[in-house]
């Protein structure tokens, strides 16, 4: 039987993983709880789409049932989109199967029957390559694979749910601020900024070049100067703009992870030994309060 079984609560990642499976010449079987998602993905190249029908609205509650399904179907592996819900489901399924799992792969590739995975560790400083063989689980982040087209047969699948965890209520979160993941240019502020009013210096630069404003984790989480969606880093926004310019950012590994795919990285900081300079294409060592206003003027022309 075999086949790659896929789940994601985000349709875009689901499409990408289907694309990966198809490109590797594998059967792609998508699982979803949402009839709506199934319809949206009907033409995404999956061989089959199973709409799960069960007593719980939480996909995580079907972990055991999905684990059984994978075993019965002799699945090759289970690929899940790396979102909070996806990771929870994936790890639980891996637990029920007591099988291997690689989280947040930055790349996967078939090598014969085995799966070669690459993942980052230590906040992004170290890369680990692992090989999976036999039924295993991976979680995959967005933007890794090309999508394909092709019609899928949609079927309902009754599965037993674990009903011990129930939903009391769901409050949608209104996202403040821009989705930095889609920004073409980003100006980033770091902890060297003295007071919240100084954000204006950054905003002026951002405006001059047509960039969005982002920040490091501490600016958002500790100082609360910008919303949580604005912080760039391994546990925040991972961005790939054409231009990233930072001021007063020291460049800790966790932050640099979020900008590694930027086309051009520019850093301004007073400390010549700041790690950000090792990660930058261009930089100026200097006092941001002096440098940035001058730069804003220079770039306006």
């Amino acid at each position: 039987m075999a086949g790659v079984y896929i789940y994601s609560d985000k349709t875009d990642i689901a499409q990408e993983i289907i694309g990966f499976a198809r490109a590797a010449g594998k059967e792609a079987i998508l699982l979803t709880l949402s009839e709506k998602d199934a319809q949206a993905l009907q033409n995404s190249g999956a061989d089959k789409i199973y709409v799960i029908d069960g007593k719980s609205e939480l996909i995580e509650n079907y972990s055991k049932a999905i684990a059984d399904l994978l075993t019965k179907a002799n699945a090759e592996f289970f690929a899940v989109g790396a979102t909070p819900r996806g990771r929870d489901l994936a790890a639980r399924v891996a637990g029920y199967l007591d099988c291997a799992m690689v989280s947040d792969v930055s790349s996967i590739e078939y090598s014969g029957q085995n799966l070669q995975c690459v993942r980052m560790m230590y906040g992004g400083a170290v890369q680990q390559n692992e090989v999976l063989s036999g039924l295993s689980v991976v979680t995959v982040s967005a933007g890794k694979f090309e999508t394909v087209k092709g019609e899928a047969a949609i079927q309902t699948l009754e599965l037993e749910a674990d009903t011990r965890v129930t939903v009391v209520e769901t409050a949608p979160v209104v996202k403040v601020g821009v989705d930095l993941g889609k920004a073409d240019k980003v100006v980033c502020v770091g902890m060297a900024l003295d007071k919240v009013e100084d954000l204006q210096i950054a905003r002026d630069l951002a405006e001059a070049v047509g960039a969005e404003l982002g920040c490091t984790r501490s600016i958002a989480e500790e100082r609360h100067w910008l919303p949580v969606e604005s912080y760039i880093g391994i546990s925040g926004a991972v961005i790939k703009p054409r231009l990233y310019m930072s001021m007063g950012v020291s460049g800790q590994i966790q932050h640099v992870y979020g900008i590694r795919d930027a086309q051009l990285i520019v850093a301004i900081d007073i400390n010549e030994k700041a790690p950000i300079f090792k990660a930058a294409d261009y930089g100026i060592v200097g006092d941001l309060y002096e440098v940035v206003p001058l730069l804003t003027e220079a770039l306006k022309k």
């Binding site: 909070p84 637990g95 799992m101 036999g134 011990r164 769901t170 520019v266 010549e272 294409d281 261009y282």
Partner: protein
């Protein structure tokens, strides 16, 4: 008396990692620490134990190097600590770690709640809590930003990427908490002194009868260094440096 288990991990401090020019990773100068977010989890467990009128027990799976973690963990309000000591812990994968922890938990009486941090600062794989739940067939709640215990019911607010989801579960359960759950207070002097007197139970994986052979094979472990131009304007007047940068950016065509 109900027991609340706080699982924690002794990790290498990522700030001390050195990447050599040939991209090999030098961990020799790195100091160990309790993974940052585990401290928040330990505090959450201590508070949960208080509301259940129970005991808070720290549990860790590590090599001999993890021994100093016990005093640190115990100084944070835990009543006792369990330590699965095995040299293989250094290579254990998510499956093996969860197996070891679950096996130890099976030996503890009256476990009402198992709390882990959402992820460890070295791997941030986020597998431990869900796997433990699956192995023990207990309900799991992950990404918890807030928990409240009333009687035998735990209510948690999960911070998901697009919503705040409030869920309910009857204990016993496994919860993975985000650092938002509560701050991790710095232990005071008396807490540090008291830590030395609290009981520690040490276990060997042979006692637990588990197999730790990793199910993945690691083929490479190397530093990730970005190859960037590193053109840094350091000398001279600010105005000159700024002009040099502006010119460069125009040439690069990113404006």
């Amino acid at each position: 008396m109900s027991q609340v288990i706080a699982c924690y991990k002794w990790v290498v401090d990522e700030a001390d990692i050195r990447i050599n020019t040939d991209l090999t990773v030098d961990l020799s100068k790195a100091k160990g620490k309790i993974s940052d977010y585990d401290k928040n989890a330990i505090e959450a467990a201590v508070q949960a134990a208080a509301s259940l009128n129970g005991k808070a027990i720290g549990l860790t799976f590590g090599t001999a190097e993890a021994k100093p973690s016990l005093k640190d963990a115990l100084s944070r309000g835990l009543d006792e600590a369990w330590y699965i000591n095995d040299q293989q812990a250094g290579q254990a994968d998510g499956a093996g770690t969860a197996r070891a922890l679950a096996a130890a938990i099976k030996r503890m009486p009256d476990v009402s709640l198992i709390i882990c941090a959402e992820g460890a600062s070295d791997t941030y794989a986020r597998q431990t809590a869900p796997r433990i739940g699956a192995l023990l067939d207990l309900p799991v709640v992950t990404s918890a930003g807030k928990i409240e215990i009333s009687g035998n019911t735990l209510t948690a607010v999960r911070i998901l990427d697009d919503c705040l989801q409030t869920v309910k579960v009857e204990l016993p359960a496994v919860i993975a908490v985000l650092p938002e759950i509560n701050p991790a207070p710095i232990p005071g002097l008396k807490a540090v002194l008291a830590a030395g007197k609290k009981p520690v139970t040490e276990l060997k994986t042979q006692d637990l009868g588990i197999d730790l052979a990793p199910k993945t094979s690691v083929t490479e472990f190397k530093g990730y260094i970005m190859n960037r131009k590193n053109i840094i304007f350091n000398e001279g007047q600010t105005a000159d440096k700024v002009n040099a940068l502006a010119t460069a950016l125009r040439k690069e065509g990113v404006l």
